[in-house]
């Protein structure tokens, strides 16, 4: 009995110890579990924070971020990407990248592992529009997959701004060049003007004097005739007649008159050139006003009607929706007139009969465009760069001053911040395009020029 009691006591003691050991182990495990859970909570919170941060960065990132699978399909993107492609993430995913990034297949095929970049890439949106972009890319493992990442920066505004800047710079260069030529012209005009003035005056005096001498000679001729039969003057008359025959005095007088007339005409022509040079050096003269360009063209055509042969057809295609432009009416009308007369001359020179001149107007991107086209043979390719240079002309000597196009360009570029160019147009040999900025574009140009001056 005592042995049994001792046995049970031993068993009870062992069971109690086992229980305590089990409780100790349980507490130890509980403590471990708590520590692990605490660590898990910390890392979960960290992960959540990181994920939130990443998600926020992606949401506010100004550039489109595109994830492309190794099969070159769009896999995921950020908010900016949906705005760029004008479609939701759901609509985008699964589509071939080539649909929106034409040519990307070849680029990605050539891209090795790591980073790559494309300076200018055309991205096509879902609505059919497209925009230029700078693309930075990555190819390699992200997580468990190998993917392509594209970071797409829309540079449409920058490209437009660069184009605009280039155009303004070209205009400024052109204006500076014309200004320099203008200054040179003013100097030459001044130097030529004085001698031309007294040559012209002397020629006029000589012409008048010769007229008087001619009258005197006619009187002497009457005297000679009256005394021709008088024996006393016979020898003297014979001597005069012999001398007259020898020098052909009648022809000589006529020739002198012609020479003086031609010289007068020549001097008048030089005067005209000097006047044009003066005008070239002071293109800013003339009041500006709001002008109906179509009315201006009709006026110019009316003025030139006398010069337009009946065989030349003049077509007008004038847009009725043009805004009025603030410009110097007389200068602009003169430019149009010059271009129309140039067209008429070109047709007369090159064609036996017929010929067509077409004048059209329309508004394009903030500019009013005036096109003056003719089928008068065109301007040879080799001369296209020179036709706007002052004193350059293809007309025969004495017919053209070489100032018309130079002055026209000066009036358009410097006087109106516009453009005058020679362009190609189907069915015509020559087309001059005048582009005049509308009010709001003019303001931008002036502002840019002021900025340019300030920067300089």
């Amino acid at each position: 009995m005592t042995e049994n009691i001792d046995l049970y006591k031993s068993i009870a003691a062992r069971e109690k110890a086992s229980r305590k050991e089990a409780e100790r182990l349980l507490e130890e495990k509980s403590r471990e579990l708590f520590s692990q859970q605490e660590a898990l909570e910390v890392s979960t919170a960290h992960l959540k924070k990181t994920a939130t941060l990443l998600s926020e960065i992606m949401r506010v990132a100004p550039d489109g971020v595109y994830m492309i699978s190794s099969s070159l399909k769009l896999h995921d993107c950020n908010a900016a990407a949906t705005e760029q492609l004008k479609m939701s993430r759901g609509e985008m995913c699964g589509h071939e990248a080539e649909e929106y990034f034409p040519g990307i297949t070849r680029v990605l095929a050539d891209a090795g592992d790591g980073y790559f970049s494309l300076e200018q890439f055309r991205v096509r949106s879902a609505d059919g529009s497209s925009f230029p972009a700078e693309v930075r890319g990555y190819h390699g493992p992200i997580g468990s997959e190998r993917i392509y990442l594209l970071f797409v920066h829309d540079i449409a505004k920058r490209v437009a701004s660069e184009k605009k800047r280039t155009r303004i710079e070209q205009q400024l260069d052109e204006a500076r060049r014309l200004e320099a030529i203008g200054a040179l012209s003013a100097g030459i005009a001044h130097e030529i003007n004085t001698p031309i003035q007294f040559i012209g005056d002397n020629l006029a005096f000589l012409q008048e004097a010769l007229k008087k001498i001619h009258i005197s000679w006619r009187k002497y001729e009457g005297l000679r005739s009256a005394v021709a039969q008088d024996e006393a003057y016979k020898d003297l008359v014979k001597d005069v007649d012999d001398h007259s025959k020898e020098v052909r005095l009648d022809v000589l007088v006529k020739d002198i008159f012609e020479c003086l007339q031609e010289s007068q005409e020549g001097i008048a022509q030089v005067r005209d050139i000097v006047l044009l040079m003066k005008e070239f050096s002071h293109p800013g003269s003339g009041e500006s006003d709001d002008v109906d360009i179509n009315r201006l063209i009709r006026n110019a055509l009316n003025i030139s009607k006398r010069n337009i042969d009946s065989g030349i057809i003049v077509e007008q295609d004038l847009s009725e929706n043009l805004p009025e432009l603030n410009c110097r009416q007389s200068q602009l009308q003169q430019v149009i007139l010059n271009l129309v007369l140039n067209a008429v001359d070109a047709i007369k020179d090159k064609r036996e009969e017929g010929g067509k001149i077409r004048i059209s107007t329309k508004s394009v991107d903030g500019f009013v465009q005036i096109r003056i086209s003719d089928n008068g043979g065109g301007v040879p390719q080799s001369l296209r760069q020179k036709i706007f240079d002052p004193f350059f002309t293809t007309k025969p000597v004495g017919k053209g001053t070489g100032q018309g196009l130079a002055l026209a360009k000066d009036v358009i570029v410097k006087g109106h911040s516009g453009r005058l160019t020679l362009v190609d147009e189907a069915s015509f040999d020559t087309t001059f395009l005048i582009e005049l900025p509308m009010a709001h574009v003019m303001e931008e140009i002036i502002s840019a020029e002021e900025h340019d001056v300030t920067a300089a």
């Binding site: 229980r19 305590k20 409780e23 349980l26 507490e27 509980s30 403590r31 708590f34």
Partner: protein, 182 residues
């Protein structure tokens, strides 16, 4: 109440009076759990009250005295069972002042559902510690025993003055512990 308090009580009674006495006590207390406790479990405080009442009857010792003596013993057991809780503590005041923010926090790691009393440290100087005990289980005597056990563990002499601030529904007791020079 945590099962550890019950199991320690059983060990204490069994060691002092033998297994038969313990079993008789358990039977007399007529416990719904039949006295089956694990340190990791939580059990009704009423069972502790029943057990202590039976022990008081059988021993002739008043319940408050029994709880104080057991509390003092219990603290000694805690130092053996949970030595990690005492690491870094060199004196009784530091340990008692850390009960709320350190010890209870560690207990909650193990037993998230534990309903623990609160120990607010109102005054803490080199010689005076004022603790405000607050509990719905009204175990102020056990608490006093534990404080005594703590002082004994750190071998410090102190006078404990106990002031009941509230009795119901929570028992709120202020313990002023004045350290005595050794």
């Amino acid at each position: 109440m945590k099962g550890a308090v019950f199991t320690e009580l059983f060990d204490y009674v069994e060691d002092a009076h033998g297994p038969e006495f313990l079993q008789e006590t358990i039977d007399a207390a007529d416990l719904p759990t039949k006295g089956v406790y694990a340190t990791t479990g939580t059990y009704p405080t009423s069972e502790m009250v029943s057990l202590v009442s039976v022990l008081s009857n059988s021993s002739g010792i008043a319940v408050p005295d029994l709880l104080r003596v057991f509390g003092e013993h219990l603290f000694g057991r805690f130092t053996v069972s949970y030595p990690a809780l005492f690491e870094g503590c060199d004196d009784a005041f530091s340990f008692l002042a850390s009960v709320e923010n350190v010890i209870h926090m560690e207990v909650r790691k193990l037993y998230p559902d534990a309903e623990l009393p609160t120990f607010e440290t109102a005054v803490h100087t080199d010689t005076h510690l004022q603790l405000i005990y607050r509990s719905r289980r009204h175990m102020g005597d056990l608490c006093e025993g534990l404080i005594k056990g703590c002082l004994a563990h750190f071998e410090e002499e102190a006078v404990i003055t106990r002031t009941t601030l509230e009795e119901s529904p929570d028992s709120v007791i202020q313990f002023d512990i004045e350290k005595q020079p050794k």
